[in-house]
């Protein structure tokens, strides 16, 4: 008998994602953990949600885990195959119509206390033109962070959670209250939370600074403080309960049996 009582940090993250998707929400997912989380939501936690991907595939319900947002695994199991430009138009019109149905998952290499995210490059001794480490670039993230509320997925490390990031690929709350409006961004959209392998951060309504909202059964507020490169308020933190064995069984046996994104530890 497989043991589903123990779970990995990644499985905890996927579960945290699924729990944060609400009824009837339209969920913008990429591949990797957000997709596992959204699949879990669709399967059990919140079946009324509608996953969409930035390539333009709408209301996806893949049978096998896709490896990219343009994968045939999405394309063959969705409601509509739009070109990417329609996705962009849809996302902008949701904001123009003042709808509040979209929630988007984005990832990044660096994040600052206001939820601004870098997925372009780390300068090191260089600069934007000749950086130490180069990443893919924005992809759909910049547009998503412009028009949608986001949940940011990160690995919780000191060097990734830093007071000042080298390059803002996707805008968060900029420099605090009113920061988005100042640069021409919709002020009523922005990052809602950051889900990491150590906990769930939210943004203070007054200051727009990140604070710890939840820690996991295997983490603690102290661990989060230690692994965050800026001063973070942990005084409001509560425990986020871990997933049930049944949830873990569904992730391992039904959603990602090939372990494309979630590696199961050997017993």
């Amino acid at each position: 008998m497989a043991d589903y009582t123990k779970y990995t940090k990644q499985e905890m993250q996927a579960y945290a994602i699924a729990k944060n998707i609400k009824e009837n929400q339209i969920v913008i997912v990429g591949t990797g953990l957000p997709l596992i989380g959204a699949s879990l939501a669709k399967a059990v936690v919140c079946p009324s949600c509608h996953p969409i991907v930035e390539s333009g595939l709408m209301d996806c319900d893949p049978v096998e885990v896709p490896r990219s947002v343009g994968d045939n695994r999405f394309m063959a199991h969705c409601a509509v195959q739009w070109p990417n430009i329609r996705f962009i138009g849809f996302e902008a019109n949701e904001w123009i119509h003042d709808e509040d149905r979209l929630i988007a998952f984005i990832g990044g290499a660096e994040i600052d206390p206001y939820g601004n995210v870098n997925s372009t490059c780390i300068y090191g001794d260089g600069d934007y033109v000749k950086p130490k480490t180069r990443f893919t670039g924005s992809g759909g993230a910049n547009g998503i962070a412009t028009y949608c509320n986001t949940i940011i997925m990160m690995q919780h490390q000191k060097r990734r959670f830093t007071e000042k990031i080298d390059y803002i690929t996707s805008c968060g709350w900029m420099d605090g209250p009113g920061g988005r409006e100042k640069v021409g961004l919709p002020g009523n959209r922005g990052p809602q939370m950051v889900v990491t392998d150590l906990g769930i951060m939210k943004f203070d309504e007054e200051t727009k600074r990140m604070y710890l909202a939840y820690y996991y059964p295997f983490s603690s507020p102290e661990m989060v403080k230690e692994n965050t490169g800026f001063d973070i308020d942990v005084s409001r933190a509560e425990l986020f309960e871990g997933p049930s064995p049944e949830i873990i069984r569904i992730i391992r046996e039904e959603i990602d049996p090939g372990q494309a994104f979630i590696k199961v530890p050997k017993e």
Partner: protein
């Protein structure tokens, strides 16, 4: 009019040095790899590139030094390589002239080009590094005839005083290359599944090469005009190239080839044998340093031993890992045309990639 060409002749006639060029497809889906390989074989170079959501297609061209200016929004065989490796290495070495837009902006720019718009206003990229930093400076841009003089300009919306919007230039494409499921000799195309930006660039470019999995008659292709996506008069050349998107996917036809994409992921880590030696030596030194710092740690000691052995084997030439150059020799330069490539991949392997109609992808391709 019959526009059917051999792959060789189409690329020789319609792809020229210095072209401003765009490929269709999306990272690992319907990428025109057969045509990319032919360009690599023929040697055209100095491209100004509107890359779109790129994968191994542009990574290979960058690795082979064919790119003069690279306009990027995302480059990776996603799911197989986190960041395309030759793209990354070229940028980190300061050897690639490039610009970043967000994917949304770049795709809208390509669409604007298809609509014939003079420029494009967007409410995107505001407040981000995409506005703040220019990969190609204004001075540099003015010396490059295929690159617009400005990356982006913040302007006021004339219809909404006080509202800041971003004006971006519209691509002026010389050449577009797309791979489709079906085309007919007069250039009419059927694209099955998501069209991505392919229709946009086919309308926008002066020269358009279409490679297709199936070449069908002009009568057949218009039996159901709800399926046709590209007007034949937009197309310069039609090339019959079955599996022409390999190793990427082609909806309703075949899946990606995970073995090839994994092979490329590993090989593209090293430019060539010299680079492999240098990188392995560097990795060995790093592993030894880590092991020396923590002498009690058996895992680190073992890792260091392995790394040193690998570096030594590479240096002595007894075992050099496959490199980017090796991959290209194997899959591009050692074959004279696309037909030879198909023979080299092999019938069994190609058949295993075929789409299972009840799923929409292959369920045999991992075996």
């Amino acid at each position: 009019m019959n526009k059917v060409y051999s792959l060789h002749d189409a690329v020789a006639k319609f792809v020229e040095n210095g072209d401003c060029i765009c490929f269709g497809g999306f990272t690992t889906n319907r990428k025109p790899y057969a045509a990319v390989a032919e360009i690599l074989r023929q040697g055209q170079t100095d491209f100004t590139v509107w890359a779109g959501p790129a994968g191994g297609d542009w990574d290979m061209m960058i690795g082979e030094g064919r790119v003069k200016a690279y306009i990027n929004c995302y480059t990776a065989n996603s799911g197989y390589t986190n960041v395309a490796r030759r793209f990354r290495a070229a940028i980190e070495a300061g050897k690639l002239t490039y610009e970043d837009y967000s994917q949304d902006v770049l795709m809208l720019q390509l669409h604007a080009a298809s609509l014939g718009l003079p420029f494009l206003p967007v409410r995107l990229m505001q407040g981000s590094g995409l506005m703040k930093y220019w990969g190609i400076s204004e001075e540099q841009r003015k010396t490059m005839d295929k690159v617009d003089n400005l990356k982006a300009v913040e302007i006021e919306n004339p219809f909404c005083p006080g509202q800041k919007v971003v004006a971006v230039p519209v691509p002026k494409l010389d050449t577009a290359i797309i791979h489709v499921q079906k085309a007919s000799p007069d250039g009419t195309c059927i694209i099955e599944g998501d069209e991505f930006h392919d229709v946009d660039i086919a309308v926008a470019a002066r020269k358009v090469i279409v490679t297709c999995d199936e070449l069908v008659s002009d009568e057949f292709i218009r039996r159901d005009p709800t399926l046709t996506r590209i007007f034949g008069e937009c197309v310069s050349a039609v090339v019959h190239a079955p599996y022409g998107a390999w190793p990427s996917q082609c909806y309703n036809y075949y899946d990606n080839d995970p073995n090839a994409l994994r092979e490329y992921d590993k090989a593209s880590k090293y430019l060539d044998a010299e680079d492999a030696k240098a990188q392995l030596a560097k990795a060995a030194a790093k592993a030894e340093k880590a092991a020396a710092k923590d002498p009690e740690n058996a895992k680190l000691a073992e890792a260091a031993q392995k790394a040193v052995a690998a570096a030594k084997a590479a240096e002595e030439g007894t075992s050099i890992p496959m490199t980017f150059k090796d991959y290209l020799d194997k899959w591009v330069y050692s074959v004279k045309d696309h037909g030879e490539l198909l023979d080299k991949i092999g019938g069994k392997r190609l058949m295993s990639l075929r789409n299972a109609p009840h799923l929409g992808y292959s369920n045999t391709h991992l075996k």
